[in-house]
């Protein structure tokens, strides 16, 4: 979701954790993260000046677990500067410790920034000490009840780049396999720190969960 540029931020807490096994396995497929699935919620964009939250819709469009890849769109509904909802396309890196570790290694995120953000998720706590050693490379997350990801917006789908919004940052994301909820923190050195993204799987007016699918050739 695009955000407005604000002041820098600094410092956060550290949490202790424990080791994981050294086996490498890919995470299993989760139907709630399959293409076509939709999520709705908010992103808190509050600053020192005022409290503010934008409504956000997310749709998963592709998932390639072998390459640790996920993608989709994110739509911000009540953006003050925009006349219409602003939609962006994002690509996700799944922290499977094979394709990607907890260390971002780009997008201006240092390992300290990474740990500071990941540790905001309670489910990260058991992993933290090992992540601080090797970025989590030796952890086996294939049976872990949470899926950690980074979502990076790539382009605006329905507005031009001159819309006064930025997608320079990225999200640290945690998906709960049990209830299908998604939590995230937006990171951009030039934006408000720890903007929280909270999403829940939606049923789009149906009395249950519906799943569509496509198959690329």
């Amino acid at each position: 979701m695009p955000v407005r540029v604000v002041e820098n931020w600094s410092a956060a807490s550290e949490v202790s954790g424990q080791d994981g096994s050294s086996e490498h396995g890919l995470p299993p497929p989760f139907t709630l993260l399959s293409p076509g699935k939709a999520f709705a919620g908010t992103q808190n964009v509050s600053s020192l000046q005022k409290d503010e939250a934008w409504r956000v819709n997310v749709q998963i469009q592709g998932c390639d677990l072998e390459h640790g890849y996920l993608c989709g769109t994110m739509e911000a509904l009540n953006v003050p500067l925009a006349d219409t909802p602003v939609m962006t396309f994002w690509e996700g890196e799944i922290v499977d410790t094979k394709n990607y570790t907890f260390y971002t290694g780009k997008w201006e995120a240092t390992p300290e920034d990474d740990v500071r953000h990941w540790s905001r998720f309670p489910s990260f706590s058991p992993l933290q000490s090992q992540v601080e050693i090797d970025g989590g490379k030796s952890l086996d997350l294939s049976n872990y009840p949470h899926l950690f990801m980074r979502w990076k917006e790539q382009y605006f789908v329905n507005v031009g780049t001159d819309c006064g919004l930025t997608i320079a940052g990225f999200y640290y994301v945690c998906f709960s396999c049990s209830d299908g909820s998604i939590n995230g923190f937006y990171y951009d050195p030039n934006s408000s720190p720890f903007q929280r993204l909270e999403l829940k799987s939606t049923n789009e007016g149906r009395s249950g969960f519906s799943f569509s699918s496509y198959e690329l050739q």
């Binding site: 469009q61 790539q154 396999c177 149906r206 009395s207 249950g208 969960f209 699918s213 198959e215 050739q217």
Partner: protein
């Protein structure tokens, strides 16, 4: 001002040849002069070749060759050379030489005592055998094999090269490869690698034909003479002659494809990629065939795709596409190599799109040459695996839609299948561009092909329709269903091919996704579709059942009527008297994906939104479903395990309510 001599015009020269052939004036001196003049005029001149062909020069020259005395070497040499030239690079020329009956005469003259005659005839025959139109030489015939060996063992280089050309042209089957091997041809061809450039090239070309997809022959070559033959080929990858480098690369690709162990110690792939990418720049056969060889080398191997990308293979191929007037064969190769590179890696797709080749690839869908059109479809299919571009709606424009739709009713099944491959991907389009495809009659064509007798076409057409329906809006769904009809859809669910059943189920799954109204389609015409889906689940393969279960699960996410209908179908015992319901069977299945689909169906049936949920919970409990789910709380499939908890929570709430 200089002017063309009137007596050297093709019409007059052909006339002089005819007159000489029929025993008319001019004498041998005049005939020789005329033959030489014709030969000189047509060498490297396609227009002149076609002109003389039109004038009927070839049958006349064949007749001269046939009636020349064996001692008349000069005439034979010129006639044979002229015929060879006609057969070089022009299909009509090859046809004329073959139809004129030149082959047996040229073959007979190979035993002429004059070396020059043998040279000329061998060269001429080589030209013919370099064409696809040449007849296949039956290697398995004993006398033919003897003759071939006699040519191969001949001391005349042109004759051994002819033998190699015949092998390259005619050796296709495993039996032929083995027969040649058993008769010592492999050793003889390896010996050619020590000869002149022509000898080496002919040897490499034939070795490739003998080794292609034959691991036994490859093993023989690799172990031959303590691996010296293999080393020679590896050395030839660095040869200064581009064609030799290409052929050596092709041989090594075949060796590597037969068994990767053979080349393990040499770590040769990086070098092959580099050499082949460099060869793109070469004119002629080396440059034409290098993209095909690269595509073959890297086929399906992501690590090699990365290596090729890192030496700018994508960039070079794209740059070529921007050049004007590329010959069909080269264009086809470039498109296929680019298709292979873009088949797995997004960086390759992004690079290709940033170099603005999409419009060129789409343009090639209308190329005169069928093979180029197929290659363009393959390339578009690979590029359109880019979700990033699909999401941006970059891939399905008016031109792409109309060109692809046009190819869908092409006469060639191969073209249709290739076009369907591209259509399958571009219609996934997440924007509103599905309507572009529909507006140009795309759905109609796909529906037509889904009724084809050819199962390949049917499969790909149904898959394309399934993708077209993915996240489609209500109007798109209704338009497609109107074309497809309920009865066709029901019959596709019961298709003889399991892969088609699977796609048909997935299509229905997408049809009943989205708005609740869409679910009603499955109940149209007395519920013929839902009945077919439910019935099929009893005997179908696991992939079909997974899709079928999602159909029912999606329906179960509808209203009470929908849920009750699903309850009826999934709890019904089978006709054969089995007391286990299909739902229980699927919950107990070994495949985690099928258990996942089944548990979602239970979640939807027990979804806590209305009072009737508790009735369904009771029925699920009495039919043993709830106790089955209880036994799945530690399911090895993580997705199932978590969903089981949700289902149990809902069943507990429903149970309390119903109590």
């Amino acid at each position: 001002m200089p002017a063309t001599k009137t007596n050297n015009r093709p019409e007059e020269l052909t006339e002089r040849l005819s007159s000489a052939a029929s025993g008319g004036g001019g004498g041998d001196g005049g005939l020789l002069k005329a033959l030489r003049e014709v030969k000189n005029q047509i060498i490297g001149n396609r227009t002149k070749k076609l002109w003389y062909l039109k004038l009927g020069a070839v049958p006349t020259i064949v007749s001269i060759l046939s009636s020349a005395a064996d001692s008349d070497s000069a005439v034979i040499v010129q006639a044979a050379a002229a015929l060879g030239s006609f057969a070089c690079g022009v299909d009509a020329g090859v046809r004329a030489v073959l139809d004129g009956g030149a082959m047996p005469i040229l073959v007979r003259l190979l035993s002429n005592c004059d070396e020059k005659v043998v040279d000329a005839c061998a060269r001429s025959l080589r030209m013919v055998f370099q064409s696809k139109l040449a007849p296949k030489y039956d290697i398995l015939e004993e006398k033919n094999m003897h003759f071939l060996l006699s040519l191969l063992n001949n001391e005349n280089d042109n004759v051994t090269e002819l033998a190699a050309s015949i092998i390259t042209h005619s050796c296709e089957t495993t039996a032929e490869q083995e027969a040649l091997c058993d008769n010592g041809v492999l050793q003889r061809l390896i010996a050619l690698l020590e000869g002149s450039t022509n000898q080496r090239d002919a040897g490499l070309d034939s070795l490739a034909a003998i080794m292609k997809s034959n691991s036994d022959v490859v093993s023989k070559l690799v172990t031959f003479n303590n691996g010296r033959a293999l080393n020679s080929i590896i050395e030839l990858v660095k040869d200064r002659c581009p064609r030799t480098r290409l052929l050596a690369c092709i041989c090594l690709i075949f060796i590597g494809n037969a068994c990767t162990d053979h080349l393990k110690e040499f770590d040769i792939n990086t070098e092959l990629i580099l050499v082949l990418v460099e060869l793109f720049e070469e004119p002629g056969r080396a440059g034409d065939e290098a993209p095909y060889a690269l595509a073959n080398l890297i086929a399906g191997k992501e690590d090699l795709h990365k290596q090729a990308f890192s030496v700018n293979a994508v960039e070079k191929l794209c740059n070529f596409l921007h050049k004007k007037a590329i010959e069909a064969k080269r264009l086809q190769g470039i498109l296929l190599a680019l298709a292979e590179l873009c088949s797995k890696l997004e960086i390759c797709r992004t690079k290709s799109l940033s170099l603005k080749v999409l419009d060129i690839v789409i343009g090639a869908l209308k190329h005169d040459c069928t093979e180029v059109r197929i290659a363009a479809c393959t390339c578009l299919r690979s590029i359109s695996r880019s979700l990033k571009s699909l999401s941006a709606g970059h891939l399905l424009n008016e031109t792409a839609a109309t060109s692809l739709i046009q190819l869908l009713h092409n006469q060639s099944t191969e073209v249709q299948v290739a076009a369907l491959g591209a259509v399958c991907n571009v219609v996934v389009d997440f924007t509103t561009r599905k309507s572009v495809f529909l507006r140009h009659g795309g759905a109609k064509e796909l529906v037509q092909l889904s009724r084809s007798m050819d199962s390949k076409l049917r499969l790909n057409a149904v898959r394309a329709l399934r993708n077209l329906l993915f996240l489609a809006d209500k109007i798109v769904k209704e338009n497609i269903l109107q074309e497809l009809t309920i009865s066709t859809l029901a019959s596709l669910v019961c298709d003889a091919e399991a892969s088609i059943q699977e796609q048909a189920m997935a299509l229905i799954r997408n049809l009943v996704d989205g708005s609740v109204d869409c679910i009603d389609h499955i109940f149209a015409e007395d519920g013929v579709i839902i009945t077919a889906v439910a019935r099929q689940l009893w005997g179908a393969t696991v992939p079909v059942c997974i899709q079928g279960m999602y159909v029912l699960s999606n329906v179960a996410a509808g209203n009470d009527f929908h849920k009750d209908a699903v309850m009826h179908h999934i709890l019904l015992p089978h006709d054969t008297g089995s007391d286990s319901s299909i739902l229980l069977r699927f919950l107990q299945n070994n495949d985690g994906r099928l258990r996942t689909a089944a548990i979602w169906c239970v979640i939807n049936l027990t979804y806590p939104c209305n009072c009737t949920a508790s009735e369904r919970v009771t029925r699920l409990r009495t039919s043993g479903v709830v106790s089955q789910i209880k036994s799945m709380v530690n399911d090895p499939c993580l997705d199932v395990k978590h969903r089981v908890r949700t289902a149990l929570e809902q069943c507990t709430v429903g149970g309390i309510n119903s109590a």
